[in-house]
């Protein structure tokens, strides 16, 4: 059974990616699965690079495979035993594959572009970890197109406004739900400019130029999401569907679930500091659950259910 890779993407910074990843890691370890973990950014620091607020740390136990930059190997409290050096470069040195020898915290900085993550997964899979977890960074998504499934961490840090947040989540879910078509039978339509990447503006222009177009075939879910502001892309697709045009992607990246984090950092002008703030959690969850057909979890409260979902995905 090939090892599955799950990416935890965030829609912005501080939406709970690492908390979610940490949770999945803990559950996997509890179930006797030895995961491999990496990040497309930089995780595990005690204090946020930008806001200065405390951040969750990643705790690992012996046997876990860690792919992190050379300069991060000794940065945490866990003892890591390097297995091999990869040719993947990061600003913190080459990505090293290591096995955890003694429990503790790790700092992850892994491959930060798609081709590098693909390369790493090729190296990781033969080592048969129970699963591979890839932590996202900020709202970055592109490299996660290499994963088998995504959990998206949504949070008030994106918009500290309930209405907007719900609309965004809805649009995002919608974009992920665009169905796939047979790869071979369906070249991308309209023709993308660079490696299957079409911006929303390009798409609009092409569609308006070609009145005959009955079918839009885009490259993959992630590229679709990145083509423009999420709400605008979704609104456009909805509009063209209403005009009778079908929309497909050649490759879907499955959206497994949303997690929602009511936290957001509030800028306090007088102190020139960020402070922790929260949207009303219950209301937030209810609103989002009502708006999207995808499972929505509060990692802190519905953890068990999320893990059940993930396990069924893995099998």
């Amino acid at each position: 059974m090939p090892v599955k890779t799950i990416g935890v993407a965030g829609t912005a910074k501080n939406t709970g990616k690492t908390t979610t990843l940490s949770f999945l890691l803990e559950r996997a370890l509890g179930d006797g699965l030895l995961p491999a973990i990496t990040s497309i950014g930089y995780d595990g620091e005690a204090i946020d690079n930008i806001t200065g607020l405390p951040k969750p740390r990643l705790r690992v136990t012996p046997g876990v495979l860690v792919a992190t930059a050379e300069r991060c190997l000794d940065a945490g409290s866990a003892t890591l035993h390097p297995l091999e050096s990869t040719p993947i470069e990061t600003p913190l040195g080459p990505v090293i594959l290591a096995r955890v020898k003694t429990s503790g915290l790790v700092v992850l900085a892994g491959p930060n572009k798609t081709s590098d993550l693909e390369r790493l997964l090729l190296i990781l899979r033969p080592l048969s970890p129970g699963l591979i977890l890839v932590d996202g960074a900020l709202g970055r998504m592109a490299p996660l197109q290499a994963t088998d499934g995504l959990i998206v961490a949504q949070g008030a840090a994106l918009y500290p406004d309930l209405g907007r947040l719900v609309a965004h989540t809805q649009a995002l879910a919608g974009l992920f739900s665009v169905p796939a078509v047979d790869l071979d039978a369906n070249p991308p339509v309209p023709r993308p400019l660079n490696n299957g990447f079409l911006t929303l503006d390009d798409l609009k222009r092409q569609v308006s130029l070609n009145r005959e177009m009955k079918k839009i075939v885009l490259e993959n879910s992630i590229k679709l999401i990145l083509s423009g502001p999420v709400e605008e892309v979704w609104a456009y697709l909805t509009a063209v569907r209403q005009q009778g045009i079908e929309v497909f992607v050649r490759q879907r990246v499955p959206l497994l679930a949303f997690t929602v984090n009511p936290f957001y950092p509030k800028w306090v002008k007088e102190n020139r500091l960020y402070r922790e703030e929260f949207l009303p959690a219950e209301t937030l969850y209810e609103a989002i659950r009502a708006a999207v057909p995808v499972p929505v979890f509060d990692v802190k409260k519905d953890g068990a259910a999320l893990w059940t979902l993930v396990k069924s995905f893995l099998s």
């Binding site: 910074k13 300069r71 600003p91 913190l92 930060n112 900020l138 970055r140 197109q145």
Partner: protein
């Protein structure tokens, strides 16, 4: 930075995108440098929308994209989006993305998904080096650093005819006198040399010029002897004879294994840790940005081997060119040197073969190392240690040692003479300093004494370096020469010496002596300015103190060490090839000094030999504050 054009196969295309609303000076500087090197550099307009930047990247297909932006609200998101779009558009295969700005650290660059981050201290050279796929070079690049010979290119010709004659006469008489005599110090030096020779032969160690990293592991008194019975017997005999020439606490060490108060041997664990420390930190030095001249030396000697190595490493990292060993002051009055890996509870690091070998092992390849023979009863033997253990320089000081260092003039002339012979045989240059000025001896007398020592050394085939003081000495406190500025009188010393002899000059020791205070900033500035004066005068080297050396009463802090090295670096940057201009007073004083030096040398000749003149106070009288020392009095004897 080297502006030569790179070969065609190294030429790159770089797209520079300032995300700030205003143009980025940094990117413009990098563009200029890249173009000078023959690369194609495309600078986009500032503050373009993300999609347009992506379009430009897709259009130009550059090898590198440099984004620059001061971090602020929402900026991280913009940068991350550019990376995301570039990745999605397949633009990350060919193109490397670098981000630069005030708040950029490697961790942030990693979080944003860049290939490389450049922080606020990035130089243009670093950015260009990244594009060219090589390590950045600096003017004083570590890979280019070789140890320079301070004495190279000097003829040692004495230009002043009268002084030349006076010195020649004095040297002749003194050499005749000294060569006929010996002392326990000289004999111990000879025995120590024998011991080294034996051990080298027995253990197959290479000649000292090759420089061994392995400590010699000198035989402790009660420890093991080399396997060869013949060598063992020889060594036992040598040490027996050596012991007979020692006294007091040193003798107790050799006879009973007792160590003097406040010293202790390192434990085996400590020794192992010390070896690891020395090996671990062995790296390459960076200079102070001045090229080769003047070389900047610092002084170390905490008494603790770990602290010494830490200070040395710190100084090297901050750009010091050389380090000078300070031994405990009691060493000058002790007949004999100790052996073993010894730590000292107070100031000064004990001179033992093992201690010195350990220090040597810790030094960076390009760092110059001076082991001072200096002023006491172990002058000659210390030169042996310096020579055998790979020091680059030593210091031999007859006038100061006799008049301010507490050593009997007879003894120091004999030992100093022999030490100079040894130094010449080891090819070891040495400086001669005028610390007696600090006791109150006026510069003209001290410089005269310096010239005699130097001339003596030259006659023996040595390569002395003249070390005038840049200090707020008692002479100027009373005479007022430094009422207006610290420049003229110090410069006068250098000018005077240059008029007299073509020899290398190395102001010390350290410069700015007695101009420092408890204020670290003031002390750092004072040191820096004195060092800049030295640089203006185009001397070969300069010795600087830390900013707390004058007031610490002992231990020197690492921060204070950094203070003055940073200060000197700044000073070099500020001055470049520009100069400090003394007033005409400097030349007036220089002329006066030359006249007065001549008078002193005349009186010295009339007195007889160097030692006669020293005793008679010609090179520094009791009224000046100089007293012929007593240590070693009555210990010299005629040879044969």
């Amino acid at each position: 930075m080297n502006s030569a054009t790179v070969p065609n196969d190294v030429k790159k295309k770089v797209l520079l995108a300032p995300i700030d609303p205003v143009h980025d000076v940094g990117l413009k500087m990098i563009r200029r440098a890249l173009e000078q090197r023959g690369h194609q550099a495309i600078l986009l307009a500032p503050d373009l929308p993300v999609e347009e930047i992506i379009r430009e990247i897709a259009r130009h297909q550059p090898d590198f994209v440099f984004l620059s932006r001061t971090l602020g609200y929402g900026v991280a998101e913009i940068l991350a989006r550019i990376i995301d779009l570039a990745d999605a558009a397949g633009l990350r295969e060919k193109t490397r993305f670098a981000v630069g700005g005030m708040a950029i650290r490697p961790q942030l660059a990693a979080e944003l998904g860049f290939d490389r981050g450049f922080g606020p201290k990035t130089t243009v050279e670093e950015a260009v080096a990244y594009v060219e796929g090589r390590a950045p070079t600096t003017q004083d690049s570590a890979t280019n650093r070789t140890k320079s010979d301070l004495t190279g290119g000097y003829s040692y010709q004495i230009k002043h005819p009268v002084i030349a004659q006076l010195l020649a006469e004095l040297v002749r008489k003194t050499a005749q006198w000294a060569a006929a005599r010996t002392s326990p110090g000289v004999e111990r030096a000879q025995l120590r040399q024998e011991m080294f020779r034996l051990l080298r032969k027995a253990r197959g160690w290479p000649d000292q010029q090759a420089g061994t990293k392995v400590p010699f592991g000198f035989i402790p008194v009660w420890g093991e002897y080399p396997e060869d019975k013949w060598v063992k017997a020889e060594l036992v005999e040598l040490r027996r004879r050596y012991t007979g020439l020692t006294e007091g606490a040193i003798r107790s060490f050799y006879e009973q294994g007792l160590l003097p108060a406040k010293t202790r041997p390192l434990t085996p664990e400590e020794l192992e840790a010390l070896n690891r420390l020395a090996a671990k930190n062995r790296g390459e030095s960076r200079g102070l940005g001045r090229g080769q001249k003047p070389l900047v030396f610092i002084q170390y000697g905490t008494g603790c081997p770990f602290m010494d190595i830490a200070h040395i490493k710190l100084a090297e990292a901050c750009g010091a060119d050389g380090v000078i060993h300070f031994d405990p002051s009691w060493g000058a009055r002790a007949e004999g040197l100790l052996e073993g890996y010894l730590s000292h509870e107070e100031d000064g690091s004990i001179l033992t073969p093992e201690n010195l070998a350990q220090i040597r092992a810790a030094l960076n390849q390009g760092t110059l190392w001076q082991v001072r023979a200096h002023r006491g009863l172990n002058t000659a033997e210390t030169v042996v240690l310096a020579g055998e253990l790979g020091a680059d320089l030593t210091k031999i000081n007859i006038a100061y040692g006799s008049l301010g260092g507490g050593t009997d003039p007879d003894r120091l002339v004999v030992d100093g003479y022999y030490a100079m012979k040894l130094a010449a045989s080891y090819g070891l240059p040495y400086d001669v300093v005028t610390n007696e000025e600090l006791a109150g001896v006026p510069a003209h007398k001290a410089l005269a004494g310096l010239l005699v020592s130097a001339a003596l050394g030259i006659s023996l085939g040595g390569r002395p370096i003249l070390q005038p003081l840049f200090a707020y000495s008692p002479e100027v406190m009373i005479g007022g020469q430094m009422e207006d500025n610290y420049v003229d009188f110090n410069a006068a010393k250098v000018l005077a010496l240059r008029e007299i002899i073509a020899a290398p000059i190395w102001p010390g020791a350290p410069v700015g002596f007695l101009t420092q205070s408890e204020d670290r900033v003031q002390s750092a500035v004072a040191t820096t300015l004195h060092a800049m004066l030295a640089a203006s005068l185009e001397v070969e080297a300069v010795t600087i103190a830390s900013s707390d050396e004058a007031y610490s009463g002992g231990p020197i802090s690492a921060a204070a060490r950094v203070d003055t090295l940073r200060g000197v670096r700044e000073g070099f940057r500020f001055f470049g090839q520009a100069r400090i201009q003394p007033t005409p007073r400097a030349q007036e004083w220089a002329d006066e000094l030359v006249r007065e030096i001549t008078e002193v040398l005349e009186k010295a000749n009339q007195a007889g030999t160097f030692r006669d003149a020293l005793y008679q106070g010609i090179f520094g009288s009791q009224e000046d504050g100089a007293y012929p020392g007593r240590a070693g009095r009555g210990t010299i004897r005629l040879v044969g």
